[in-house]
Amino acid sequence: MYNFAYHRPRTLAEATQLLAANEDAKLLAGGQTFIPTLKQRLAQPSDLVDLSAIAELRGIREEGGGLTIGATTPHAEVAASEVVRRVVPALADLAETIGDTQVRNLGTLGGSISNNDPAADYPAGLVGLGATVRTSKREIAAEDFFTGMFETALAEDEIVTAVHFPKPEKAAYAKFPNPASRYAIVGVFVARTAGGVRVAVTGAGPCVFRARELENALSADFAPEAVEGVSVSADGLNEDIHASAEYRAHLIKVMAKRAVAAAG
């Protein structure tokens, strides 16, 4: 690890100021991806701005019938939250599949989505539920937030503060984990919402995406069987030592079917 200056601001304003004042400053949330990256000397920030002491960034509350989860809320808290279990149980289930216990105890929602790992779970949940990302500057629809592999719509000095999830009619997440890393080889989040059926896929492509052909089929009939007739193309899907594009395409259907079944 290269050395850096460390800051632990108490307010969002202070954090924003630190970020703006130091060109190579980076935010530190749970650190479960970032610290390993630093250990490998793959990043060399001048300053680390630790968000953990900013009370306003943490917590889970009901809002407008849906949920608002603070950016530094750890996965374990989401998974164990009675509120989340009641309002969007699929999101608690998703949080429960991230990493392992210790990663879930420190890793945060804001950290996960800001990193936008193509195999991370939360992006599927956000896009699948049509969530809104709130930042220090604005609100961004989830679909516009995730822009590419490890890329988001965030500006350099912008900090995710919370995510608002509308309550779906039904939703579920089905994940086929990489047996080694336990990241998603394919993760499919299916939701039936007032605005229609949404199917978000993570792990399979360079960035989370909506599977429109599955959405169309499920809009007509929200049942596992409806997935059978759909053809999912392998074009543009990831290919690595763990899974070919063809296998990923197949798994998208299988996981979609299982998610629909689980959503009930």
Binding site: R41, F176, P179, A180, Y183, A243, S244, Y247, V254
Partner: protein, 788 residues
């Protein structure tokens, strides 16, 4: 049986320090005035080193020194060696290329150490290593053993990269048997390359004392004396009597810590170069993936000839073995004497022929990993036999039974050099089938089908040669050292017993098992026995722990040293009891004049030996005896494993539902420890079958270089196991009747899993049988042309 004697499931002595965080591993040791070393490693699989600019690293704050291969060469450091000579069938010696401790001019695998940077702190050493400018001219590389023969040369003077072309068995007899066979079953398969992954990364601290001119090396080693021998006799780091090697608590080995590696030689040598300050190195896990020897990596074609009734007539095997970029310490023996000699398995196949070609490639060196050659042999036979059974329509248990060496045929000379001493293969098979409810399987399969799952059952009847090794046999086959073991029993005034052993425990629980042995043998309290190991300064010269040898060879040395204690004690007791030595009997810690109540306890006798107020003439004072034991034969643990799997046909995911192991280890000293050894072996065998595989790309980069991509078995990948260790057939090779248990699980498990999977889906999938491979196999199986 004493409460904590032989056969008792005694909880381990060593546990207390480990469960409280007071273990003492190499990385826990910090010596005064210590420096830190980081190795600069080749990022290329094959390249010429065109320039190293030491100044670039020396300019970094805190950097003390930078050494390269040229420095080591200038100081006369020799080559790392492969200690087992294997000769090709044309009589020529294996082509052992030089293996410098730091690369000279050429690098041959990603991770090949090029230089060492020594600094005041670890961070500074890392900074220095990053700053060191090394220029390379890349060369074409070869990584797969299939392409090695015609690939770019890893070592210029080794044509075709061929290290040896070795054979065993009677080719003519095999050809004749194939000519008259009713049936020939053929299989080609890959033995996947594995990364041992002991949880403790390797570490070393070398230091030099200018006053005594002695070197001390703290090291993660399974065999500190072997390290000392090779580092002095071949690498010339230090004279043997001036080098102390200490292997403190060691966090698992599985073979990977047997070998003499570059780094420990370098830090020891470097300490003297920098004026005697200790030099500490601890590898990162990502380094371990690149630099700890890998295991397996064979490509094999096997053919079995059978008569119409399914009797085996002959076996013909052709194997190509990948030994990586350099020949590691025991690498040559693994695909030859530890492999082809086991190809008879538990069966009376009359004719066997094996041809093994070993190749250099631009990959991490390959050497012994738990089982070492024997898992490869067992997998070959047991999957091939399953295929024969399927093709001939014979029940898989029945075809094995038909071909077993009968229990009255021992000692049994196989056609591949070994003489099995004892065994009852039918008994272990019967017991395993009963425990696994083999008969009830069809009902479970039908039930699984109703749930949409494919269920399969697989049998594997393994054998291994353990207790390595009878020295004369090993040396006649090319071993460079004898493989006896040593022990010293040192009694103290107060009747306590110190057991100094040349074996080394890195998880096996020797402190407990050896204490049980000695407590029972000498009749002293278990708590009064202390086992000391792992330090060349205090233990007798020993050959270390590998090949399931610690108890069968090292334990017997302890027993024989105890015999000497008892014999000497009898002389002293006879004197004290005013009886003839011939009239003294010893039992449960008491010397007694036969037929009388006149007796002396062993503690009284020991005290007398040190305080000889009244003492027999001609007997030396003291009670301190040593023994060396060289076994007359290997031991042959064997058993049957039965595995049941369920496959999710939609995803190809395989889950192990049940796993039954019935092992014949002969006599068992501590069943709890023995079962634990089996559990661990099974997990590694299941890992090989379903999860683990090292993958290189064509340029020689290791794609599975961390736990993100190399799949280690986790708790939720495995079931609870059902492990049984009887009925056993004790061996006569040692006085305890023990055979060895450390490797069995890893040897027998892969075939049991793969056979179960094959049974479930209708065709064999290469290891590791990943979900995608299984899914593809299911898809092709359902197509009409499906055939292996």
């Amino acid at each position: 049986m004493a409460e904590k004697g032989i056969g008792a499931a005694v909880p381990r002595k060593e546990d207390h320090r480990f469960v409280t965080g007071h273990g003492r591993y190499t990385d826990d040791i910090n010596l005064p005035n210590q420096t830190h070393a980081v190795f600069v490693r080749s990022p290329h699989a094959h390249a010429r080193i065109t320039r190293i600019d030491k100044e670039s690293a020396l300019a970094v704050p805190g950097v003390i020194a930078v050494f390269t291969g040229a420095d080591a060469q200038a100081d006369g450091l020799g080559s790392l060696i492969c200690g087992w000579m294997v000769r090709s069938r044309d009589g020529s010696d294996m082509k052992a290329a030089p293996h410098p401790v730091l690369a000279v001019d050429r690098v041959r695998y990603v991770g090949d150490p090029v230089a060492v940077v020594i600094a005041e702190t670890l961070q500074q050493a890392r900074d220095g290593a990053e700053a060191l400018e090394v220029e390379y001219e890349e060369l074409p590389a070869v990584t797969s053993v299939d392409r090695a023969h015609d690939g770019p040369l890893v070592h210029d003077d080794v044509p075709n990269n061929l290290i040896y072309d070795w054979e065993l068995g009677d080719a003519a007899a095999v050809d004749a048997a194939f000519a008259k066979a009713a049936r020939v079953v053929t299989q080609e398969h890959v033995q996947n390359r594995l990364v041992p992954n002991a949880l403790e990364p390797r570490a070393a601290i070398g230091s030099y004392d200018a006053g005594s001119e002695e070197f001390t090396l703290y090291l993660t080693s399974q065999n500190p004396h072997v390290h000392r021998l090779v580092m002095s006799a071949f690498v010339a780091v230090a004279p043997e009597h001036k080098l102390r090697v200490v292997a403190p608590d060691v966090g698992g080995g599985f073979g990977s810590k047997i070998f003499i590696y570059n780094e420990e030689c370098v830090v020891t040598w470097a300490s003297r170069k920098i004026g005697g300050r200790p030099v500490k190195w601890r590898e990162e896990r990502s380094e371990a993936f690149l630099c700890d020897c890998h295991g397996r990596d064979h490509v094999t074609k096997a053919e079995l000839a059978l008569d119409a009734e399914g009797n085996f007539l002959a076996l013909r095997v052709t194997t190509k073995a990948n030994l990586g970029a350099y020949m590691s310490t025991f690498s040559s023996a693994v695909p030859t004497y530890l492999y082809a000699t086991l190809l008879a398995g538990q069966y009376r196949t009359p004719a066997i022929y094996a041809n093994v070609r070993a190749y250099y490639t631009n990959t991490t060196p390959v050497d012994a990993y738990r089982g070492a050659g024997r898992p490869e042999a067992s997998f070959l036979l047991e999957t091939l036999i399953d295929k024969a059974a399927r093709e001939m329509g014979i029940d898989r248990a029945e075809i094995r039974r038909r071909n077993f060496i009968p229990k009255d045929a021992f000692p049994y000379q196989t056609p591949v050099a070994l003489t099995y001493d004892t065994g009852d293969y039918e008994a272990t098979l019967d017991r395993a089938l009963e425990l696994a409810d083999y008969k009830g399987f069809p009902a479970r399969k039908a039930e699984a089908e109703r749930r949409g799952k494919l269920r399969g059952i697989g049998i594997s009847c393994y054998i291994e040669a353990c207790g390595i090794a009878p020295s004369q046999v090993a040396i006649s086959l090319g071993a460079g050292v004898g493989l006896w073991e040593s022990a010293r029993i040192r009694c103290t005034h107060t009747g306590k017993v110190q057991v100094l052993t040349g074996a080394h425990s890195h998880g096996q629980g020797h402190e407990t098992t050896f204490s049980q042995l000695v407590a029972e043998k000498l009749g002293v309290p278990y708590e009064d026995v202390e086992v000391i190991h792992g330090d060349t300064a205090s233990t007798p010269i020993g050959m270390g722990t590998y090949g399931s040898r610690s108890l069968a060879v090292g334990g017997e040395a302890i027993m024989r040293a105890c015999d000497k204690i008892i014999a000497k004690g009898a002389k002293i007791a006879a004197h004290l009891l005013e009886a003839s030595e011939a009239d003294i009997e010893f039992e449960a810690g008491v010397f007694r004049v036969k037929g009388t109540d006149k007796q002396k306890t062993i503690q009284e006798v020991i005290f007398t030996a040190y305080v000889p107020a009244s003492y027999p003439e001609g007997v030396e004072p003291g009670m301190d005896e040593s023994a060396f034991f060289d076994p007359p034969n290997f031991t042959y643990p064997a058993g049957t494993y039965v595995c049941e799997v369920e496959v999710d046909p939609e995803t190809g995911t395989v889950s192990i539902e049940t796993f039954v192991a019935v092992d014949d280890f002969g006599r068992v000293i501590n069943p709890m420890v023995v079962e634990g050894q089996v559990h661990g072996g099974l997990a590694q065998g299941i890992g090989q079958a379903l999860l683990e595989g090292a993958v290189y790309d064509d340029s020689g980069q290791l794609l599975t270089g961390s736990y993100m991509d190399y799949c280690m078995p986790r708790a939720d990948d495995l079931p609870s196991f059902e492990v049984h260790t009887s009925p056993g057939t004790p061996t006569a090779t040692n006085s305890m009747g023990v055979k060895g248990c450390g490797e069995a699980g890893a040897i027998g498990a892969p075939a049991a899993v793969i056979n179960a999977l094959t049974d479930a889906i209708g065709q064999r999938v290469e290891m590791p049988a990943t979900p995608e491979r299984v899914w593809r196999a299911i898809r092709t199986s359902s197509m009409p042309q499906a055939a292996e």
